[in-house]
Structure formats: structure tokens, C-alpha cells
């Protein structure tokens, strides 16, 4: 699929940021599932919002595709 903002073979910083924050969020969730830590709404809600915010921010800075 062709896109306008980034070369199909180029580097997309938005995907990099999104991947890193998704990895971080997934790690948190995995630690909770393994009962290493206990997530509550007080922690997970900001984490989810921060993830979405970081992705939006990165996508906005990198430009619409």
C-alpha cells in the first residue's frame, strides 16, 4: 500500500514510538498476569491514556500518512 508521508522503504519514527510504548504497556500487563505486580484502575487508566497520547503525538509529529 502506497502512502503519502513516508517512503514505503523509509524510516517511520511514529511506528517506532508506538512500538516502544506498546511494548512497555504489554510488559506491564504481562507482569500483572504473572502476579509480579498488581494493576489497579488508578495505574492502568493513566498508562492506557499515556500510550494512546504518545502514539498520537508521535503520529502528529511524523506527519499524516
Amino acid at each position: 500500500m502506497r502512502s503519502g508521508g513516508v517512503s514505503p522503504r523509509g524510516f517511520d519514527p511514529a511506528s517506532l514510538v508506538a512500538g516502544l510504548v506498546v511494548c512497555g504497556l504489554g510488559t506491564l500487563l504481562l507482569l500483572d498476569q504473572l502476579e509480579v505486580l498488581r494493576l489497579s484502575f488508578g495505574y492502568i487508566a493513566p498508562a492506557l491514556l499515556a500510550t494512546i497520547g504518545a502514539i498520537l503525538l508521535a503520529a502528529g509529529l511524523a506527519g499524516r500518512r
Partner: protein, 388 residues
């Protein structure tokens, strides 16, 4: 005669890119009407001005609507920011989405969205479902609108984009349910692993042109799993309705457990011994209802992911509820110490079953539909008070 939407632009005759041309071609069909933010009639981002122009309504109507909705749980702020983010400006002189404006918009939107959500507090769960549903529906509508408005009148392409948007939303909704079911079935660790794998794929894709579409499955996996994990739901113990009415201490178990449903425990026919009796109640999703005799002093320590706890004349509700009630008592009193763990739902301990309720108002407690003379406040931990 030109229509109101025809770009009759007396204010741009000196446009350098369009010199006066007496032999200019005749005007074509009027362009498709498109929702844009107004650059001339605006107080903040021009959203209300754009809406007013699009619907041929005075923008003040939309401004009042946004302000009112902003004070009712913050939905107006979210809706305005979503429109600001998703709807382009009508200003042709400025870049439609410059880096700086996009950064400021997104940053401000994220900050205010967090503030709005924080202001909702427990109401996000109890008092705010209609507002939350409205905000979600509004966002979906704006996404569809955005998909349809970017092709300058190409109806077939717009239809395809709308169809694709609807398809993605439907798949995401199904995915949310599927992930929740998977987590309930004990597959939370696997789902978390899939989230990490999706993140790794995103990172790898970043060096091959980008793979932003992977954000959608990543969030579809992570959001329901995160909410499930935060609620602390334990689905062990089965599903359905459980009713227990022990009449002797031998029939009374140390603990009762249910995955999903209603757990009712009637202790009114039970003559508890003097001194301490411990009781542990665990529920994933649903309601625990405990009826206790009036000669028993009740103490409790309960945790609820989302919901409320009510033990006689005390209650607490919202998210991450940590309820403790340790009334003073002295020797010789029948003391029932209830430990409770509820993922999503309610734990209620009362003398009178008519006092049970399934509503919770964070300002007035679970009995918001009752007056002070008809139910509210009639439950008392009298045995503890008498002992003290």
C-alpha cells in the same frame, strides 16, 4: 445565481495565484459541502463556527452546547477536542496540518482529555455511562465523517472509506469482547505476550516504511486486558446464582466464591457464637448480598475493582474501592468479620433485604432513590454500638 455554498469570494480578488482573467473558464459545479473549522468565526478552534456554517445554524447554539456538556462530566471538552483534531481548517493560506499546530493540538488535547477523564472519577462507571456512550458515539461519528470528507466529492471513494472505517470499528468491538473472554478464560498472559509481539512488530516495521495499522490490534488487545486486569476479576467459582441460608455454625463455611452472578448469604437464622467469626466472600462480576441478624456486630474489609461496598450504615463506591469498617466492640459480643473481594459489582451487608439496592450515587450512597424517612439510614450496626 450562486448557491450559498458556492465559493463566491469577494475577499480574495487579489489572490496572486489567480490573476484577473476575463476569459476565465465558466465555474464548474459547486464543490461538495465539507465540514471545516472556521478560521474567521472562532473563539477557540473554530469548531462551533464550522458546525454552525455547515448546518446553517447560529454557532452560539453549538458553543452553548459544548460549554454545557463540558460541565456535565467533561464530555463537551472531549467532543470539542476530537473535532479540533479530526476536522481540518478552512484557512487556505496556512498549511492545513503544520507540524507545530499538530503538536500543540495533540498535546493540548491529550492533557485536557486526561483532565476531563480524571474529573469524571467514579462517575465514569456509575453516573457517566450515557455521557461516555455519547462521547464514544460522537468520536465514531467524527471518524466516519472524517473518512467521508477527505475525497472532495468522490462519492465512491468516500463510500469505500466509510465502509472500511465501519469494518475496522466492528472488528475492534468484536476483538474487545473476544479479548475479555480470553482473559476470563485464563489467557491473559498469552494476550499480554501478543501485545508485546505487536509492539516488536511495530518497531521492526518502523525501519521498513512503517506499520502504523498495527496500533489498532495492539490497542484492541491491550485496552480490554488492562481493564480486566485492573478490575481484579477472578472467574473461578462458576457462573449463576448462589443462595446460602445456614442455620447452624456447622453449615456456615469459612468462605464463599462465585465467578459471575449473584451470591446471596442469609445469616438471619444463624445463631453465631460470642466472639469473632470470620467469613471470606469472593466474586468476579456481580453482586454479593449478605443478610445478618441484628445482634451481630459486623466488621469488614473489602476490595472492589469497580462498584460499591455497603455494610449497614457505611458505604463506599467507585474505582479501586478499599473499604474498611472496624467498629469498636467489647467482649461477649457476636462479631462477624467479613472479608470481601469483588472485581466488578457490589457487596452489601444489611439486616433488611428491602434495603438492598443496585444503584450507587457517590454523593448520597447506594440508596439515592430513598428519602431519609423511607429507608435511608435505617440500617445500623446496633450490636457494636450497644457493646461500645
Amino acid at each position: 445565481m450562486s448557491s450559498p455554498e458556492t465559493p463566491h469570494t469577494p475577499e480574495t480578488p487579489q489572490d496572486p495565484e489567480q490573476p484577473s482573467a476575463p476569459d476565465s473558464p465558466p465555474p464548474g459545479p459547486p464543490p461538495a459541502r465539507k465540514l471545516t473549522r472556521a478560521s474567521s468565526d472562532k473563539l477557540l478552534g473554530g469548531v462551533a463556527g464550522g458546525l454552525g456554517r455547515y448546518f446553517s445554524i447560529d454557532p452560539i447554539i453549538f458553543r452553548i452546547g459544548f460549554v454545557v456538556a463540558a460541565f456535565v462530566g467533561g464530555a463537551g471538552v472531549l467532543a470539542y477536542l476530537a473535532a479540533w483534531l479530526l476536522v481540518g481548517s478552512d484557512d487556505p493560506s496556512a498549511p492545513p496540518r503544520s507540524q507545530v499546530s499538530r503538536l500543540l493540538t495533540i498535546t493540548g488535547g491529550a492533557v485536557l482529555a486526561v483532565a476531563a477523564l480524571a474529573s469524571l472519577g467514579p462517575g465514569l462507571v456509575f453516573a457517566g455511562p450515557p455521557l461516555l456512550a455519547l462521547a464514544i458515539v460522537g468520536l465514531i461519528g467524527l471518524l466516519i465523517w472524517r473518512a467521508a470528507s477527505g475525497e472532495n466529492g468522490d462519492a465512491s471513494l468516500a463510500a469505500r472509506r466509510i465502509g472500511l472505517t465501519l469494518l475496522v470499528l466492528a472488528v475492534a468491538a468484536i476483538g474487545f469482547v473476544a479479548v475479555a473472554v480470553g482473559a476470563a478464560a485464563g489467557g491473559g498472559a498469552i494476550i499480554a505476550g501478543l501485545v508485546i509481539a505487536t509492539g516488536v512488530a511495530l518497531v521492526a516495521g518502523a525501519f521498513m516504511g512503517g506499520a502504523r495499522w498495527l496500533v489498532v490490534p495492539a490497542l484492541v488487545l491491550a485496552i480490554p486486558l488492562g481493564l480486566w486486569a485492573a478490575s481484579g476479576i477472578d472467574t473461578e467459582g462458576g457462573i449463576g446464582e448462589r443462595n446460602y441460608r445456614p442455620t447452624t455454625t456447622a453449615e456456615l463455611s469459612d468462605g464463599y466464591k462465585l465467578g459471575m452472578g449473584r451470591l446471596a448469604l442469609d445469616l438471619r437464622d444463624l445463631d453465631l457464637p460470642a466472639g469473632r467469626t470470620d467469613l471470606q466472600l469472593d466474586l468476579g462480576i456481580g453482586s454479593i448480598e449478605v443478610l445478618v441478624p441484628e445482634d451481630v456486630c459486623v466488621a469488614s474489609k473489602a476490595a472492589v475493582g469497580a462498584g460499591f461496598v455497603r455494610v449497614l450504615d457505611r458505604d463506599s463506591g467507585g474505582l479501586d474501592v478499599d473499604f474498611r469498617s472496624s467498629p469498636v466492640e467489647r467482649g461477649g459480643v457476636k462479631r462477624l468479620v467479613i472479608g470481601g473481594d469483588v472485581g466488578i459489582g457490589a457487596l452489601q451487608v444489611v439486616h433488611d433485604p428491602s434495603q438492598l439496592d443496585d444503584d450507587y450515587d457517590r454523593d448520597r450512597g447506594p440508596f439515592n432513590n430513598r428519602s431519609a424517612f423511607n429507608g435511608f439510614g435505617t440500617e445500623r450496626n446496633t450490636a457494636c454500638a450497644a457493646a461500645a
